[in-house]
Symmetry: C2
Subunit: 418 residues, 2 copies
Amino acid sequence: MSIQNQQTKLTIGLFGFGVVGASLYEVLAQTPTLNAVIKKVCIRNPEKSRNAPLSLFTTSKDEVLNDGQVDVIVELTNDPVAAYTIVTTALRSSKAVVSANKKMIAEHLEELIALQKEYGVPLLYEAACCASIPVIRNLEEYYDNDLLHSISGIVNGSTNYILTKIAEDRKSFAQALAEAQAAGFAETDPALDVEGIDAVNKLSILLAHAYGTIAHPATLLHAGIANLHEADTTFAKEKGYQVKLVAQARKLTDGSIAAFVLPQFVEAGSRLREVKNEYNGVEIESSLADKQFFYGKGAGGFPTASAVLSDLSALRYNYSYEYKKLNYGEPALLSPDFYLRVCISFRNLLQVPHEQFARVEEWVSNDRRCHITGIIHCSKLSDSNWWKQPDISVILYPDGIFETFVQKEQSVEALVEV
Amino acid sequence: MSIQNQQTKLTIGLFGFGVVGASLYEVLAQTPTLNAVIKKVCIRNPEKSRNAPLSLFTTSKDEVLNDGQVDVIVELTNDPVAAYTIVTTALRSSKAVVSANKKMIAEHLEELIALQKEYGVPLLYEAACCASIPVIRNLEEYYDNDLLHSISGIVNGSTNYILTKIAEDRKSFAQALAEAQAAGFAETDPALDVEGIDAVNKLSILLAHAYGTIAHPATLLHAGIANLHEADTTFAKEKGYQVKLVAQARKLTDGSIAAFVLPQFVEAGSRLREVKNEYNGVEIESSLADKQFFYGKGAGGFPTASAVLSDLSALRYNYSYEYKKLNYGEPALLSPDFYLRVCISFRNLLQVPHEQFARVEEWVSNDRRCHITGIIHCSKLSDSNWWKQPDISVILYPDGIFETFVQKEQSVEALVEV
């Protein structure tokens, strides 16, 4: 077992020169010890003025992809369709790839894993989850031998920024969204953030590295924060909670995984509660290491560039994701059978089929809003759309996942907690 | 750049079969997918009953070290002298090594790095710092390209457990220490913990991976919690602080590093304040990623075993520490020239040469204790021993590092904050 092949020199072909791409260029140019040089940058709009020599840029993606000297493609466009073409072409040309495009990666993960295997080249994407937090590589490397009980996190900086402004500065949703966009934390298309799509894309990627579970994000139960009502904030506050958008995956007794993205009431004292504004935080629970928590900036150009740099650094010693749980273990299946304790918030009773609840625990209404708290089977949410209407929101309670539910004289003891 | 050499099978020679060793054995035996098998275990006392086949054990270290089939030595003894012999012999026999012995590693780091280079084999020691928190590998991999401003952390679970019990449960130091020992969080020799030696050993290791700085722990300014007085807890509480033992390294304007371990007043709202009992937490500040925080169990058999497992897993793809900042960059030097804002707590004025302060800001005394707050040059502490007497304690204030101090009509503006 010998030390080998350190400090490979990297010649990079870069796609995209936005905030992330430009700061990557700057750091690499200033730091020759990194042993990585950007040879060519493919951009869409040649008219824009950029802080780098003109000769660096091209609008022809083939010029970059077919360059025999380029051994690493760094894909930092914000277009998932273009990203897919670039990344798959690069892998097929046996070039290593670093990408930050979570949507593209989540939606094509199975194929991207197969391509890495077929062509024997790595695709790294630490920047695609929680930007600066090294969660993917830690899940891949540190928890492969561990019984990983759960992972739960605030993985979308933009919605967390909005929710923090709403809860702490009493802003309206519209005001808070505008501020997030002005601060550059929101995706180009805000729907990706506020409808929970960005978060579920990240959950899909995390599932592969945590449990070897490959699931298209569209198949995972998810909601965002677009439907949250002002009254929900008040309702949460009265109970001592704050609403956060949480992505989580939890191993059930039979080894299957309950995984979803939902707004959640978070208690004071919880580590996730302390994750504010554009920050992200991920809590990992495992049998050996117990609870661990990773915290850092989850959005913004520099934190993302930081993750890209660490992927480049990993490529220098030929690092690749092994997808250990998928390849060497027994990949875990998603569970279609668990219960959730949720609060459904709505205005019009006719919209809510409350008989869908296994048990209703609390029913509070005033002239503005109605809140039903109860236990509901996950399929009543994942197989239906009534709760996705603009005037209805679903919020999970803390420790709100249950494996089984037995209706027994309305007693709380009937619940078997995970 | 191709994917290669995945899933090397590891044949392990283990030294030590305490809590960590035994749980490592258990997990490896139960999990064939890990592709690692313990061939032989060297123990000191053959009389002890152990939960593994007798044929596994030997008392001859040579039997393990000379076994040609063994390609990895895992060193989990609690004897730094024996550990040194085992680890250096193994490296010289071109065997990869995993060790958890922070004292041995910190004191011999320069030699251990040279041996790895000379014999071309890796030595990994993630378990030596903050047990389950993957801080070494993250510093090595994620921050090499970044301007790393500072790292500060609670790195000793035992003293943190004691300080938590004192601050939150109003226990005496003696009671709290006894509880920490009963819970298995204290080192065999409690002096290693309470005198700050364990913490400074870890700081010494962190410095190498954070800044490429090789410093023997004995040369680093450090104090533990043994001299803290009950009145210090009260003094802290009155100011809204809690005392924690913090190891830190901070880059100054000239690129040199201020590094030390001192008890510190920690404000409410600080992430380190929320690190309680045997947990550890490390905050890393860098220009690209900004603030990051890693949190997890820092003591105990299972968290340590978890880190050892992740090192074994890394060996499977031939991972080794590159000591990037040492080998490819300009290693940072330790600064001998900075100021600290501290509180000196004492009973007998004659013991304290208060003229050593560059400025005294506050002087509070009652019949039990006297507390002087002021600015002091680091050399007044590192070059002297008066503050190490049992009846004197030194506690750092938050943001208490200053690059320069100009005495200017006692004005606070004279301080240039880092």
